[in-house]
């Protein structure tokens, strides 16, 4: 029950942040970074279910993020209109955010079920290709719908993106209360999932399918639910990105290309596949490195260089930094920063240790 109290405290802090963050951190780009870091944590935590705990290799997480982002953006826009438009208020967010994110989770989860089915027969590279194919299909279907078409797909705005019903911009309802609150909740849920009987069963399945079946784990159900849970989490993360305050009021297909998946996979591997703590730390490192390069890009020196070398793009540098970081890490710590271990904050670990010394 200690963790329940902790949760309440966290939510209280998040609530406070919702009303005061604008004054505490006047720079909106810094606020945006903090919120982005939270969203990315949820991205990594959800991918960790498949790539870490279940030991499958999905490189299609961007597909679930995209579904979640578009669904949340559409729901938020329409509910906003139904409420009469006007100002984005905290009271309204109590309706808009849960509705948007719940639907985002539902739709992404349903697609997770479909993508999970092949995982029953495919492994390794083959499954990776299926997941990648799925993500690309989602992105391309959205991107190629032409503006003149009368289909509902065209309403998504194709390559230019979706900017809310009537193109008024997506109402950004998810303030710090929601973003921080959901992130804290996601960490707790991810932790509990990992330590739950279900979490143990999918980790067992990853190690030895026959032995897992022999103790009564149903491999089919466990694998598919892992995909559904991971996808639903990805949907929520995508939804958070789409409607977070200080974010951009438009969602575009290009935000959900392979780069997005690659970032997510890097977060998980960097932190340590299967580790909840690792996903948190990994997502922080990636978020900050992206920001650092952006800042570097904006400096006068780089801008001056850019004036003479037009094609200069420091984002390419990011890939080099990642590559170097990953290679170094794989040499020094082949299982990521944490391996599958955790930073033990919760009481259960201490109780376990006390148990084992007594025995």
């Amino acid at each position: 029950m200690k963790s329940a109290r902790g949760l309440l405290v966290a939510l209280a802090i998040a609530l406070l942040a919702d009303f005061t963050l604008d004054r505490v951190i006047p720079d909106s780009s810094v606020r945006q970074l903090a919120m982005l870091a939270c969203c990315n944590m949820v991205v990594a935590l959800s991918l960790n279910v498949i790539n870490g705990m279940a030991g499958q290799f999905s490189i299609g997480h961007a597909g679930f993020l995209a579904l979640g982002a578009y669904v949340a953006a559409i729901v938020a826009s329409h509910v906003h209109l139904a409420l009469g438009g006007g100002d984005v208020t905290f009271a309204r967010s109590l309706i808009v955010v849960p509705a948007s994110l719940a639907l985002a989770a539902l739709v992404a989860g349903a697609f997770g079920f479909l993508v999970g089915l092949p995982s029953l027969r495919l492994r390794g590279d083959y499954l990776a290709i299926v997941t990648l194919g799925f993500a690309e299909i989602v992105r391309l279907v959205i991107a190629t719908a032409r503006a003149g078409d009368q289909t509902w797909l065209a309403k998504l705005g194709g390559q230019t993106g979706y900017a809310g019903a009537e193109d008024a911009g997506i109402p950004l309802y998810a303030g710090p209360f929601w973003i921080i609150g959901i992130t804290v909740l996601a960490i707790v849920v991810a932790w509990r999932l990992k330590m739950s009987g279900w979490g143990r069963s999918i980790r067992a399945l990853r190690e030895d399918e026959i032995a897992a079946a022999a103790v009564g784990v149903d491999p089919t159900r466990a694998k598919v639910t892992a995909f559904v849970v991971s996808a639903a989490g990805g949907g929520i993360a995508g939804g958070m990105l789409a409607i977070m305050r200080d974010g951009t009021p438009i969602v575009q297909p290009d935000s959900f290309g392979f780069q997005a998946t690659f970032d997510a996979v890097t977060m998980v591997i960097l932190g340590g596949s299967g580790s909840v703590s690792g996903a948190v730390v990994g997502s922080l490192i990636i978020t900050l490195s992206v920001k650092a390069i952006e800042l570097l890009q904006a400096t006068d020196a780089v801008q001056a260089l850019k004036a003479s070398y037009e094609s200069l793009d420091l984002n390419a540098l990011r890939m080099m930094i990642y590559a170097a970081l990953l290679v170094t890490l794989m040499i020094l710590r082949p299982d990521g920063i944490f391996g599958e271990r955790e930073i033990r904050l919760f009481s259960r670990a201490k109780r376990d240790r006390a148990d084992s010394t007594r025995a």
Binding site: S201, R203, E207, D208, A214, V215
Partner: protein
């Protein structure tokens, strides 16, 4: 140790053996691994199943645990077993300690054990069983937070048996518990097996180590190339030198 499962009823056998197999066939693709195996195990008995490498011992256990599909009669606790899947068989009280001590290497010893009670909701009963297992294998108790892969071969075998016991099974299937383990630890493990047997557990023990298996069991079956070759009291079979030479590959 306490074997009574908190919610699973003791099977009502109506005079049948706990496990009855007749004319069991198993195919792996085109290969016929079992060609009509028959055996039975009465409640409370410890029965050995021996035979050379490739005779079909593991396949027989996998069929009982419903990890491979089979044809022929397979009855457990006076009901048809063939209609159950592995999950249902485990819940019905059949526990397998798989060949090659297939533990979960990166999971902790405690997690491995708790997985043995997968599907059982009663947390306090699980803690009790865990205490029983630790009493049986004190080495496991000292290593609860270690990952399975850090255990020695013998300790991993203890963990595999302990994990199988966590479900408080009615029928314990053990596949070559002595495989690749130092003689000293083999002795320890077989002492534990006899402790388990004395508490009333029904055990079907597969072994290539015939001497150990025959001395631990009351009756035994010898398999050869997927078929029954011999059966009898373990004591009698142990006395016959020709058994070893003819059926057990040396």
């Amino acid at each position: 140790m306490n074997l009574a499962h908190p919610t699973r009823k003791q099977p009502d056998l109506h005079g049948e053996p706990l496990l009855a197999i007749e004319n069991l066939h198993v195919h792996y693709g085109g290969i016929e691994a079992l060609k009509g195996v028959s055996l039975h195990v009465d409640a409370g008995e410890i029965v050995a199943l021996v035979g050379a490498n490739g005779a079909g011992k593991s396949t027989t256990l996998k069929a009982i645990a419903r990890l491979v599909s089979s044809s022929g009669t397979l009855r457990y606790a006076a009901r048809d077993l063939t209609s159950l899947n592995a999950e249902a068989a485990a819940l019905a009280g059949i526990s397998l300690g798989p060949e090659g001590r297939a533990i979960f290497p990166t999971l902790t010893v405690r997690e491995n054990l708790e997985l043995g009670a997968y599907g059982h909701r009663d947390a306090s009963a699980m803690k009790e069983t865990e205490a029983d297992v630790v009493a049986l294998f004190p080495r496991l108790g000292e290593r609860m937070q270690q990952s399975g892969q850090t255990l020695s071969g013998g300790e991993q075998q203890m963990l595999a048996i302990g994990r199988a016991l966590m479900a408080r099974p009615s029928l314990l299937l053990l596949d070559e518990p002595s495989l690749g383990i130092a003689p000293k630890l083999t002795e320890l493990i077989f002492e534990a097996i006899s402790t388990i047997a004395k508490s009333g557990m029904t055990i079907l023990l597969v072994e290539q180590n015939t001497r150990v298996a025959l001395s631990a069991s009351a009756r035994a079956y010898v398999l050869r190339a997927g078929e029954n070759a011999l059966e009898g009291s373990s004591e009698d079979l142990a006395k016959r030198d020709d058994v070893r030479a003819a059926y057990l590959g040396g």
